[in-house]
């Protein structure tokens, strides 16, 4: 099989990571690469780590340029995917790495994104209950947000097994690439090195409704989520510390059993042996999710902690994983669980 793939938005961090993965995907041939303000520039200047593509030139993001591909990845600013997707044929697999088609509830979308809701596509987090089946053969995929990926995988087993009350308190630390490549003063190296800082505090972060959607589906009831994201002085990685109130009767053993069962057959989720905890360095550049869970009996809470690479499993790797499912390929094709450390 030769899958011809176009990438709209190839100059950003998500696009760059996607190209890094597609370059070694055995079934993919990289087609058109597009940019907006960067159209006309060589990729060598924009993504200097992608040597095999150094001489490729970015084209503008137009229907003509994107035509003639089997898969089109959209790594565009939020709100721009729908217009581009409409111009692509229904036979083309469209993988949206933006937020546009993630939320089921139009009111949620409008409250958090301030524009009309474009719709809902199959959700590209195959490890969630029911998600894999919806992705197989689909021609449209909504790639999850990076935080919802880390958080949903860390907590859904507890909700699915009925171990926790319908509330969660989550604090996550992300590397700066999650904030994108646009130059903003607070993202300067001088500002972020040596500093931890929160943002989007108090329920305002746009990934919050996406987490609620995923956890509520697992729980079978509306889950309330307190989510605080923080910016950490590292380029990549998310460490999500996720806690939920345990229901009466829960034991450390029942918690462990629920997690072991949830991830027993997952190629990318690694439940660590008891006593070891995840570190983001261990999943640097990999599609793996490292998870550990504990039951704090004194506080009556389950604490599940996950580490992912926000650009790989959290964005581009998740996109490739879903593409594989949509195309009928082995889900792990072109992906790895091997991190680049130290």
């Amino acid at each position: 099989m030769v899958v011809r793939a176009a990438v709209a938005g190839a100059s950003g961090y998500a696009g760059g990571e996607l190209l890094r993965l597609l370059l070694t995907h055995p079934e993919v041939e990289i087609g058109a690469l597009t940019g907006n303000s960067n159209a006309g520039q060589r990729l060598g200047a924009l993504q200097p780590h992608l040597l095999p593509l150094a001489d490729r030139v970015l084209e503008p993001t137009t229907p003509e340029v994107l035509a003639g591909h089997d898969v089109v990845f959209l790594a565009l600013p939020h709100g721009q995917s729908a217009a581009v997707a409409e111009q692509l044929g229904e036979e083309v697999l469209v993988v949206d790495m933006g937020a546009d088609f993630r939320l089921e509830d139009a009111a949620d979308w409008e409250a958090f994104y301030g524009s009309p809701h474009a719709g809902t596509w199959p959700y590209g987090l195959p490890e969630l209950p029911g998600a894999r089946a919806a992705l197989e053969g689909s021609k449209r995929v909504a790639v999850p947000g990076c935080y919802p990926t880390a958080v949903s995988l860390a907590l859904f087993p507890a909700y699915a097994a009925g171990l926790t009350e319908p509330e969660a308190v989550i604090v996550a630390a992300s590397g700066t690439s999650g904030a994108g490549k646009a130059a903003k003063p607070h993202l300067l190296g001088s500002e972020v090195m040596g500093s931890m800082s929160p943002y989007g505090v108090g329920g305002g972060h746009r990934h919050t409704p996406e987490m609620i959607q995923n956890l509520s589906a697992a729980a079978g009831e509306r889950v309330s989520v307190s989510f605080t994201p923080t910016l950490a002085p590292m380029p990549r990685g998310i460490l999500a510390t996720c806690t939920a109130k345990a229901k009466p009767g829960v034991t450390a053993e029942s918690v462990r059993a629920a997690y072991e069962k949830a991830f027993a057959d997952e190629p990318f989720v690694h439940l660590l042996p008891e006593g070891r905890w995840p570190a983001t360095a261990s999943v640097h550049g990999s599609n793996a999710v490292q998870i550990q869970v504990a039951y704090d009996t004194a506080a009556g809470r389950i604490i599940a902690i996950s580490a992912i690479d926000n650009l790989t499993k959290g964005t581009a790797g998740g996109a490739v994983q879903s593409m594989n499912l949509a195309l009928g390929l082995d889900e792990a094709t072109g992906l790895t669980t091997i991190g680049v450390a130290p």
Copy 2:
């Protein structure tokens, strides 16, 4: 006034930071500096940033060496302070930067530290209700742990004002100096740079009972605490994200008012204007605490976030602040709210 101060444990990070502050304290004259395995070495090789002390030589930690000082600071491993303190006269001010005299409950101490309880000294966090009065004129001070400093200041106003249920979920990120100067593989630069990782998860961190003690005192009832510390890729700083369930009837205004009242006259606690959030870089090297608080009505939780320098306000600056109170000096003498940034 000339206060002659000795520092037992001058080669570690806490001792070094203390000396950095004492060097510019207008009333202090630095006396004996002691070490254990480093006795006999010049401070220039151990603390190369303290140029004015470069030629001072570390002495062994003995009663003879520590005799003849007005203040003795103990920056020793946990469990060693009691024996040293006993040998110092009752007229000498002893400021213990270890954990030995922080906890009121002997059972807590034994459960978390595994040795007999040495006792309880006035607790060196003057901003807590009642704490300042106990410190004034005292000859013994127990300097708080770094995490309890950040967490207690962030949350006590909510409990003291009766705004929150008796439970808290706290996730804090600390710079690596909090783990000390002893060379351990997981603290190597190669391991920590680019990585976030949790430790002491599930209620096991030794600072947990200290937080419970402080918050319970403010609440007037036993507060349950879920605490997860994480190691961040930076040398200094703690960012503590502290959340607690709001009681019915709480409003954003009542929360703000409680915090404004709690910190109105505090020289080192800076409640940020609404809309701005703390960053650890802003308090680098300073004794300031930057705090912001929000009320997430959807999740029904109050989120208070504090940033401190773990070595300054979290350890050595807190020690100097308490020393000032104990000696009858202005509380802010020799301390600053100016950070070194970027």
Copy 3:
């Protein structure tokens, strides 16, 4: 003495560091603070580490605003200082932290800065031969560049003592604050963390003629300089590795003696004991220069390495040091040799 000081350009890194120092300078009262695009904003939002100034509001950089001060510091983009300085009276001390008045040779200025030469002011590096006398009582000071500060101090003793041929090869690593606070993509934290990169290679960096000027003056002949600056993943600090070909007859002892002599009475230059080498962390936030020198007999070169804080001794600390001299104050007033480490 009360010295009333204005700072033009108070929102950038140089201005922020200057304010940090002036806040604790015992003779200075901080007057007008000006900005350009930031005029009208509170300093608390722009320099959140300077708590005592949080409520100060930036004014526009006009002659009216700057009038009525004893000292005016100019932390402006290159080429803008002359116009502002002209409007200030001759009785006002003007300290230019930009490049405008550093170079003696108009042709050098025009070749490297591409605009007409504004003139030459007394050069604010008191440790250079003859510099201190020119600064005492002067009403105009040109603060040196950060790299020329580190490099000139590391090498001038060798040239002044006639130990080296008139050539130098210099490679320096700088923290990112040296590149300023303007948001540029290559300065994003995501780009600089975990990466070392050169820039201005091959003689093009604007600090090159300034180094040549200083070293040639020490040597009494034209010194040829190969200078390569690199950007290091840290917010502050310069490590300058400076080498020069040794003349025949030079010995390790003669090298050491020349350096000991050059710095014997300098309050801020610390020649390290033999066997120890400088690290930028040791001078973080301090005005100290740590220097070590070696003679590589096999390669026939002298290697002198200096560490400074680019914002302190390299910019704002150097400015204050020169201000002290110009005003007849003790040179070290308001400055420290104590670093903030780790």
Copy 4:
């Protein structure tokens, strides 16, 4: 072809990186993994990023354990390789990642390593003139040091083309993984983050004679080398700034032409387009070498700068590249020029 490979020293950084590469090498099957003090431990605890090997247990480094493999990689402390290699049959390919067999001159070895010289094996830097032929079919390979890899590739074209005098001044910055995984105080994250520091200054670094050996071979005469290594606050990467005095008549064009010719057919060396300079982030995790060269006519020196990943091209990737040549495989098998950035 199935190549069965053993790794002696699988718990360190070099061993871990080698395993990361061998895991995706299409012709290699990973056999015995050995450690010293870590024997008996699971790899999951020692190399948590290598998930597919998490359950493998380290064995002791004995002849019996290493027997029965086609290739044995030695990632041992310097001085231990000879004894192990002797016990392996002559038909086994032995790839030594230590220094033992790199130097041709026994006196150099003894002067820098202080033990008897074990001998000289074919040198695993195929890009050097004549090196590739010596590696093809060889049963013994000495993998170069990380600094000599970066420096020799940056400078040999200038010497080979007769453009430069027989002297070089080199300053290189390395990530901390180059210093190994043994816990030493100066390698703690608290010490290295935010700091640049030199070491082995003045000709004492053990990689100096190796550089001299390589550059002298290219020049056809003894080249004098001033080499200063520095430790940079990043886990991986080497940026080598290499300068040499240009001979009369050299032009920018002749320099460029020499470099283009030298690397025209090299799969891993990428001479950047004029105007762009290397950054270590671009080669993170890749076997690529990014090089740029300039001729500073004012200083009369050629400046060549290379960026490599010290663990990949500088150690384990170089080892695999040489293994491929020794086994008759395509040289690039299992290696990539794609970096993991940002």
